[in-house]
Subunit: 385 residues, 2 copies
Amino acid sequence: MKEVAVIGIGQTKIDEHWDKSLRDLAGDAALSALMDSGLEKVAALYVGNMMSGSANRQQHLGAYIADWIGLRGIEAIRLEAACSSGAASFRTAVMAVASGEVDSALVVGVEKMTDSPLQEVTAALATAADADWEAGQGLSFVALNALIMNRYMHEYGWKKEHFAPFAVNAHTNAIHNPFARFHEPATIENYLKAPMINDPINLMDASPVGDGAAAAVLLPLESLHNPSHKKIIKVAASAAATDSIAIHHRKDPLFLRAAYNSGKKAYDQAGLNPSDIDLFELHDAFSIMAALSLEANGFAERGQGPRLALDNEILPTGRIPIATRGGLKARGHPVGATGMYQIVEVVQQLRGEAFGTQVENARVGMSQNIGGSGSNIITHIFQLI
Amino acid sequence: MKEVAVIGIGQTKIDEHWDKSLRDLAGDAALSALMDSGLEKVAALYVGNMMSGSANRQQHLGAYIADWIGLRGIEAIRLEAACSSGAASFRTAVMAVASGEVDSALVVGVEKMTDSPLQEVTAALATAADADWEAGQGLSFVALNALIMNRYMHEYGWKKEHFAPFAVNAHTNAIHNPFARFHEPATIENYLKAPMINDPINLMDASPVGDGAAAAVLLPLESLHNPSHKKIIKVAASAAATDSIAIHHRKDPLFLRAAYNSGKKAYDQAGLNPSDIDLFELHDAFSIMAALSLEANGFAERGQGPRLALDNEILPTGRIPIATRGGLKARGHPVGATGMYQIVEVVQQLRGEAFGTQVENARVGMSQNIGGSGSNIITHIFQLI
């Protein structure tokens, strides 16, 4: 198996892009990544996307985007694993390059959510849950996360205000990221006054819908003998795991078992442990998911995720910086693209290009993308070499 | 890169399965394949599906199906490449096993098309074409193929009745396949009297919608030192290529360039040429696609696909048997599952298990799955060892 390196990254701003189509967004990110890599073409394209079939009446994004960016003819497919579609496409590209079947790959995560009415987006997001046993009962994704957060507060004694630092950190970091959806500072007061969506989740606990695309270019590490790139980022680990799709089938709904399992596999592959990780782009679709992710991946004891946040350990200067470019909460969460934004941001940090929120001496970064309510979790570890 | 073998296959009958859900169908095929393989579990699941997001309001089929078949926790994703989703999932599994990232894989292609009204299925199928420049102009998939067939008849002088043998061969072969959608014999008279759908495509030129699932289990060939399986089928080649998503962007709309390119790569990988292929499960979604596939893959000169059929060379006893278990026309075409049905049928032929339509001494079989109007084409060659 060949080792794999990321040699190019690209992204669009996350926004309500009324003037850009799905292919415009994907193309912009893809061409930026190619330009950054110095390559003019690649052998294969992997597209991560969740809902273009319903939101844009367009599937078949592999051929669609390859054609649009001037790479007509290359191998190209789309990967879907709900909100973890981005990391799923990256992992598929890693395996393709590692196997030797393709000698270079472009990965694009893209989602254009604002083409369809919001109630349809909510319905499309619910297709990530169990259609018969969750969505069919009227449970939206916010509702599922509200049930988890309520139970968590009950079990561990946290109050609503203890989750404020997750949102404040995300919004504070996003101010420095030109690609982020929001650039407004947030305070604990903003958090406490935010309108309730689904008790206990308020507007500041939830990530926003948006349009965006992020991309990366991969090559076998061995092909970089004469590196023209100043900094080479190695894919030190790539791992995935699932859990029951319906939350009520889990013995312990407060433990992200798939995060633990894919995280453990990733640590083992890289020969590292949590204390080696300089920053962690986790999947803070809701504040409660940030807390559970920190716990499942060994950064906090069970029930103690909010403690890390309250102690400022999640800031860029803390023990385990998260959401360093704004996270899902403030950079934005165009679902099928999110996993690729996380990866692009880790690469920026390791290259030392994270203007304004640079983690000092970052050499090892981890990204973790969650599909559904923790039912599909994909973890990557990157290393500066 | 490791060599890969198919050690288990499974399929459901293609039908209007009013009494079975999407997960029932996928589960039945998956568990049949596992049972056939002798394995109780695998490391990863790859699901091919095109339209469950709209037709069944359920996406995230990786986690969904892994959970259902008792393999909760394993890595699992869904692949989509329109009607070539089945072969896309198989190729992804081949790369995963070849890379060493996973030591065993299950692939399931599944589609349940009859849960939603037919006009919605037609609209969902059109998401495989270009939403802006084809579907948005009112072109359905039948209409796109009708334009191609009309042009082909004009260029090469064939008449409508010359396409009859494609449908007759498919229906005659399907009679022996218990998993086929149709078991009615067909004659040239049936073909000539069939109701017109979109001139020149009549009901006997077009494959039917249906529900079904087909599955396969893959292992590295090197792991089979003590083969408990009587017959091992090696994946001798796996290759993919795209073309423009919109037909009007092709210089020559009567040439399946992506079929030629992926076919050529596959022949090169396997070290074979067309005369070595004992049977060819091609993508006869419409009669015209069968003709164009035979030509692009080196079995007929340009414009001479119908000649092979008229000369009976496509029968199980002919020079290049096609649709040996009924093809898309008569076995059925549950879109995201079709590529896996083709692969399962090639494996059956190479194992000598194609009761009623067995190709004598079949040792090398090829399958080719087409997404969109020839915009994504994935080719596999299998070899009995």
